[in-house]
Subunit: 388 residues, 2 copies
């Protein structure tokens, strides 16, 4: 997703939050991944907001997208000026109300924000895993999240919510642990990557791997593949926006000049914006993590993994209530893909609400304030049976 | 555009054609470019098919897109198995009928297929221009084409036709030389690049410039920036296809395997296809030419250049008859952009036919056989007044 929103329209905040860690799968009981590889120990970073009720039935799991992390809301300390990535949605009185719910946001395995990933130390070598890290899947991410729930003694999830790659995890949760998931809210997502989505991810990965500093992934002792990662981010960014939002935001505006310079370089505002986003990204993200997470997204295919080709079969054991949301201008995961999953859910007699939200901001729309979605979400959560 | 079509459905062919060259703008009279830079001598490569009638009024100019060349139809010799890039349209009895019309196709300045470009010798240094080559515009391309017409003694063009960047040249011709252009057929094009189109071009250019072999453009004596150019081509290719065409052509098919390998590399057919296209492109195209031509496309803005902000004004001196064609699945230059130009033409009282062709192949559709377009084009050309 593109730049996380840092405005806090209501002013309300959950306040100071702390990044927590849970380590499991230590020898001899390693974590068996979907690829067949074993890995351990595995550390999972997570954050919580709100209070777990005594019945432990007010838990909402928020799952983040490709470049997200566990820091969903609030601030790390009093000097921190940038709240978590979904602070507009998670807080007291907000759509995901911390006065009512206990919210857990978990950094995915493979990432670089506290959970074990390619930049973590490989116990076998004492150095970073780099590309010795095994390939992971959306299923592996969810398996780790389940291990944390077991650790926390939570065996019921009032809701699981997330957008994009986070939405894939939502679907995986609903299908993999049907008894545990009371409701699921996949936003701006898909049950399987289209060829178009795979194509963009592959070109972005190629951009990283083409950077001589990538060095087959073993760059942690030297220069990082910053140029490749910035390029990958720029490619991704285009797919998170839309023709309309780019026209409104940039059009053909020039950057800091009144006439064409007849030189190569960022002349148009949109060029300057993309370069800025690329530069900012390399400060906070690991190139190998980008490779691993995009590959997991490309591998994701609910019908293949659970239905042997049939999406209807994939949802056959589900019992969750669903709220499926797509956005009109999202061309990465267009509405027809949400309609396909809704159809398959309904064929299983599931209780599904589906809404296509009119939004011009492309795939990024799910991260942005939207009164329509806010009101829908409140209504959906309010109707769920729980003790609070 | 993606792979040129080399099928020859009707079997008819114009036969053997020859690449011709015209050199002008030799000292002291250099060519003044739109940037203000002077350049010369300038060589323009071109090919012709059919016969020029004595009245010299049966000329159709075919203008090529980003990666095209003057070889529009026919073969270079008896052993040649691959005809020109629009052989399906140009030949005896074909949509652009060589039995009736004299067809000229001109390689654009800045390119690398015979016309002067960054890979040509800079007379000042005796070496390739590289990035000492001045930036060019669509207007500069057309100015060179006009110089060739003058040289050939042709002062009337029955029609000017082209798609994509070729379509921009068509529009430039109609606006710049209104008395000369009897009819104009811009296909799958726009009067100005959107922010989205600029964004894709910029990321592709960045991919080339990030390749250490690019060496600020001075690579002609050493290794070429093949990896960067292949990446740029892969990015371009995605924009020439469509979600639908990629789903139909590749979907989630795996390449030469029955199961996921859990390794990085081209596993999906679409990944393999893109890598193949990237590899093939570096054999025939110059990375600097890619930079210069995409920049010219980004600069193109008929309203700014001719109407001081108003597209209606830009067409105010036009007299051509127009046939404007867009394709339903072309998301690089979507139909609304063609509608805008049609509206501006009509406000000037121009004779305009506009058709949005239902095609699933994305931007590439204009290069593919299409019975609907074929019949439209024949009808449109048949009604033009000329002596043949």
């Amino acid at each position: 997703m593109s730049e996380y929103i840092d405005q806090n329209p209501s002013g309300a905040t959950i306040g100071i939050v702390e990044k927590l860690f849970f380590t499991f799968a230590d020898k001899p009981e390693l974590l068996r991944l979907e690829s067949g590889a074993d890995i351990g120990p595995v550390t999972i970073a997570y954050e919580t907001c709100g209070t777990l009720n005594p019945e432990k039935d007010n838990v909402i799991l928020v799952l983040h997208a490709l470049s997200g992390d566990s820091h969903v809301a609030g601030y790390y300390d009093a000097k921190d000026t940038k709240p978590g990535w979904w602070d507009i949605m998670v807080g007291p009185g907000k759509g995901i109300d911390t006065d009512k719910y206990f919210i857990i946001c978990i950094n995915i395995i493979g990432s670089c924000a506290g959970s074990t990933g390619p930049s973590s130390m490989n116990p076998a070598s004492g150095k970073a895993y780099a590309t010795d890290f095994p390939l992971i899947t959306i299923g592996d991410m969810v398996k780790c999240q389940k291990a944390l729930m077991d650790h926390l003694g939570i065996n019921s999830l009032l809701s699981v919510i997330g957008g994009s790659v986070g939405g894939m995890q939502v679907l995986e949760w609903a299908v993999r642990y049907p008894d545990m998931v009371k409701s699921a809210i996949p936003l701006a997502t898909t049950t399987r990557h289209s060829a178009l989505a795979i194509a963009f991810n592959e070109v972005a990965r190629q951009a990283i791997m083409a950077d001589p500093n990538w060095n087959d992934g073993y760059y942690y002792d030297g220069k990082k593949p910053d140029i490749g990662l910035a390029l990958a981010r720029m490619i991704g960014h285009i797919t998170y926006l839309s023709d309309e939002s780019m026209r409104l935001k940039f059009g053909r505006k020039l950057q800091n000049r009144s006439a064409l310079s007849f030189e190569f370089g960022a002349e148009f505002a949109v060029e300057s914006y993309l370069q800025y986003q690329g530069k900012k990204f390399i400060e906070r993200f690991d190139a190998n993590s980008f490779l691993y997470i995009t590959k997991a997204a490309d591998y994701f295919d609910l019908a293949r993994q659970y239905g042997q080709g049939s999406l209807v079969k994939a949802f056959s054991n589900c019992t969750s209530k669903f709220l499926v949301v797509s956005y009109t201008s999202d061309w990465l995961y267009p509405t027809y893909q949400s309609r396909e999953m809704v159809k398959a859910m309904k064929k299983n007699g599931l209780n599904v609400s589906f809404i296509e939200i009119d939004a011009q901001w492309g795939h990024d729309a799910f991260l942005l304030p939207n009164a329509h979605f806010d009101s829908l979400l409140r209504g959906f959560l309010r109707e769920l049976p729980h003790e609070n």
